[in-house]
């Protein structure tokens, strides 16, 4: 498999409590306080890759850095450090503002959570889908119209709806506009940030099946961010589990949900509602640790983890590989399936 996206040692830190600008730094220098501010480690040294045609799920609780990571690698914000390679091109070097007009912009596109909020309310569906085509493909007039209509049909959007504004469309139709806008410029990687979170189950199914069909037709890769593990399990080939800025587990979706290795993933899988009570009462107690200047030698999950020993307080567990899977836990061996075949 050829690697499409390669993210290496990516970090995004946000300074907190006080201005980060030059004037604030100047003030701090002369008022005798510490020059550098405490930082939120939103994404901390994350590495992973996505192969061509692969669907990768990214799961984790709110505040774990999913959205920051996704925004950084779609180049809407800049990374603090690390590299994002799409094919052979390095994307992390250009500032986000410059990248917006870069020729690689069309290669990564994003579908946002709620199309009702992410589509300009003063744009008709047509204008919303046409906008990236005008800016990135420089299409005009008849060719533009033809392209918009082709994409709308591909996304199952009736052409008579193209003249409508977002508020005149139903939730499912808006989701289709969001998807059509993103795939109009034929991206190689489509990043989907909870595309079905605002939808009812009946409509969710249609949108998920649409995404699967589009993927087969155009051979795009997906990075699918969601907190609905039932959906991730069905749509994704591989899944990444994030906890407080770090990837704690990665592997084939079926294997991870069948047999989670990291204690956090185990709790996450146990918490997924299933219509028949499973009796699995593995629960997380307490609140996550603070992401502000965390101790680099303490496991981020320490304190909520049912395993938690002294070793977890003194050494940060590294992401270790077991066959096709990766886990960041000192005790991963204990959770491996009895047979040595970790699929």
């Amino acid at each position: 498999m050829t690697v499409l996206l390669d993210v290496a040692e990516a970090s995004k830190l946000f300074p907190t409590g006080g201005g980060a600008g030059a004037w604030s730094r100047f003030q701090r220098r002369f008022s005798g306080g510490p020059e550098s501010l405490p930082k939120v480690y939103a994404v901390d040294n994350v590495s992973f890759s996505i192969a061509k045609g692969e669907t990768v799920g990214l799961v984790g609780e709110s505040g774990c850095g999913k959205s920051t990571l996704v925004r950084a690698l779609t180049r809407l914000i800049d990374l603090s450090q690390g590299s994002v390679k799409l094919g052979t091109r390095e994307l992390a070097l250009k500032p986000a503002r410059v990248f917006a007009r870069d020729r690689d912009r069309a290669r990564i596109q994003m579908v946002f959570q709620d199309a009702g909020e992410s589509v300009n309310p003063r744009f008709t569906a047509f204008a919303a889908i046409a906008d990236p085509l005008r800016r990135l493909r420089k299409l005009r007039g008849k060719t533009l119209k033809e392209r918009v209509e082709t994409v709308a049909i591909q996304c199952g959007l009736p052409l008579q709806l193209l003249t409508r504004f977002p508020h005149q469309l139903s939730g499912g139709q808006r989701a289709r506009v969001g998807i059509a806008r993103a795939i109009a410029v034929e991206p190689e990687l489509l990043v989907l940030d909870e595309p079905t979170a605002a939808l009812d189950v009946s409509v969710q199914v249609v949108v998920l099946q649409l995404l699967q069909r589009l993927k087969q037709e155009f051979g795009m890769s997906y990075l699918f961010v969601s907190h609905d593990l039932s959906v991730v399990r069905l749509l994704c080939d591989r899944v990444l589990v994030m906890y407080l800025g770090k990837i704690v587990e990665a592997g084939p979706a079926a294997a991870v949900f069948e047999h989670p290795l990291h204690p956090y993933t185990q709790a996450l899988v146990a918490a997924v509602p299933r219509r028949h009570e499973t009796g699995n009462r593995l629960r997380l107690i307490g609140e996550p640790r603070s992401p502000i200047d965390p101790d680099p030698n303490v496991c981020r999950f320490y304190g909520r983890c049912p395993q938690g020993t002294d070793a977890c307080k003194t050494t940060m567990p590294a992401l270790r590989r077991f066959g096709a899977r990766e886990v960041a836990c000192h005790f991963a061996e204990g959770f491996l399936p009895q047979t040595n075949t970790v699929s």
């Binding site: 009946s202 199914v205 099946q209 039932s230 959906v231 509602p273 299933r274 307490g286 609140e287």
Partner: protein
């Protein structure tokens, strides 16, 4: 159904007068909750789940009007009750947990005080004893360091903690009926599991009846003894949970189950529900509001919906229900369209 019902809703109809016409949000909704039982109201957005709860609590929007029906809480009809009677019942006998804990809590009042307010009004607790009792309530809902947290404001807490505060407020006066309106929407799954455990455990401990409103059929299946499925302001099916999943009779229920992804093995197994909710402002709504989307529509669907015997365990409001897959020992389950 077991025992005397804690709440019995009979033929409840609610309409909203809007500029563009009258919205018939609820039509002839009936169900009951036995003491100590958890009943889930399930449906897509716009199906009337929350309106049912608001009507029972007497907190409908001023544009809403209850056209017909009763909601009996013991001997008291909540629909006909005076504002004063309602004020004495709310918080004391019925309590409600709202969807978004951040907006439902008072943002400029410490949470301990908010719990104390309920205790003083409904729990026979003196002003002096209220703070200590409030701290006890916080401890009961699993807040660590409750004495310090009692002085905190809602914005200082995470969503999960705010929901615990809401639960503490709702349960402060030990109500006999709890209405939980999507209590975990917007929370993480791990937090959702913990909050649902808390609600279930406290309900069991206090012998409380619970109405649990959700759009997640899997969650309802996991957490309730009985499920009431709503569609466009109608109750389409009402059955014990295991029976509903094993033997859905109403076509809409079957489609809803087929669209829920929790047990599916692949995406192709899921089936979308064609069509959308009818416009409830229409004056020519058919008797069965699902009939225009229904794959099993027959000529008989044009007549008024069937009347189910009030003591049936499994009710489906349908003239052409799916065949009963449990033909054996369940005579009460087959009455739906008889």
């Amino acid at each position: 159904m077991m025992g005397a019902p804690a709440l019995s809703v009979e033929g409840l109809s609610v309409e909203f007068r809007t500029r563009s016409g009258v919205v018939r949000a609820l039509d002839n909704v009936s169900f009951s909750v036995a003491k100590g039982e958890t009943v889930a109201l399930v449906g897509e957005s716009g199906s009337g789940k929350s309106v049912t709860a608001y009507a029972v609590m007497g907190i409908l929007d001023p544009a809403g009007r209850i056209g017909a029906g009763r909601a009996m809480l013991g001997d008291l009809d909540l629909v006909a009750a005076t504002p004063k009677e309602l004020a004495n019942v709310r918080g004391r006998s019925i309590a409600m947990i709202f969807q978004n804990p951040r907006t439902a809590l008072n943002p400029i009042r410490p949470v301990g005080k908010q719990i104390g307010d309920v205790l003083m009004r409904h729990g026979h607790v003196s002003r002096r004893a209220a703070p200590a009792h409030a701290v006890e309530m916080l401890r009961a809902v699993g807040i660590t360091d409750p004495a310090r947290r009692a002085k905190a404001y809602p914005f200082e807490m995470s969503g999960g903690m705010c929901q615990r505060i809401m639960i503490a407020i709702a349960l402060a006066a030990k109500p006999s009926l709890l209405i939980a309106d999507e209590p975990t929407t917007g929370l993480d799954v791990t937090t959702q599991a913990v909050i649902m455990d808390l609600i279930n455990d406290l309900a069991k401990e206090l012998g409380m009846a619970t109405i649990f409103i959700t759009h997640d059929l899997a969650l309802a299946g996991q957490r309730s003894a009985r499920i009431v499925v709503m569609h466009a302001g109608h109750v389409v099916e009402n059955a014990p949970t295991a029976d509903l999943f094993a033997n859905p009779r109403h076509p809409y229920t079957a489609e809803l189950i087929a669209a829920t992804p929790d047990t599916a093995a692949s995406l192709d197994e899921l089936a979308a529900i064609p069509g959308s909710l009818p416009d409830l402002r229409r004056t020519d709504l058919p008797p069965c509001r699902y009939s225009e989307r229904c794959p099993r529509k027959i000529a008989g669907c044009a007549q008024p919906l069937p009347h189910a015997p009030p003591d049936a365990a499994h009710i489906a409001a349908c003239w052409n229900p799916l065949p009963d897959r449990t033909q054996r020992a369940m005579p009460a389950a087959t009455v739906s369209a008889a």
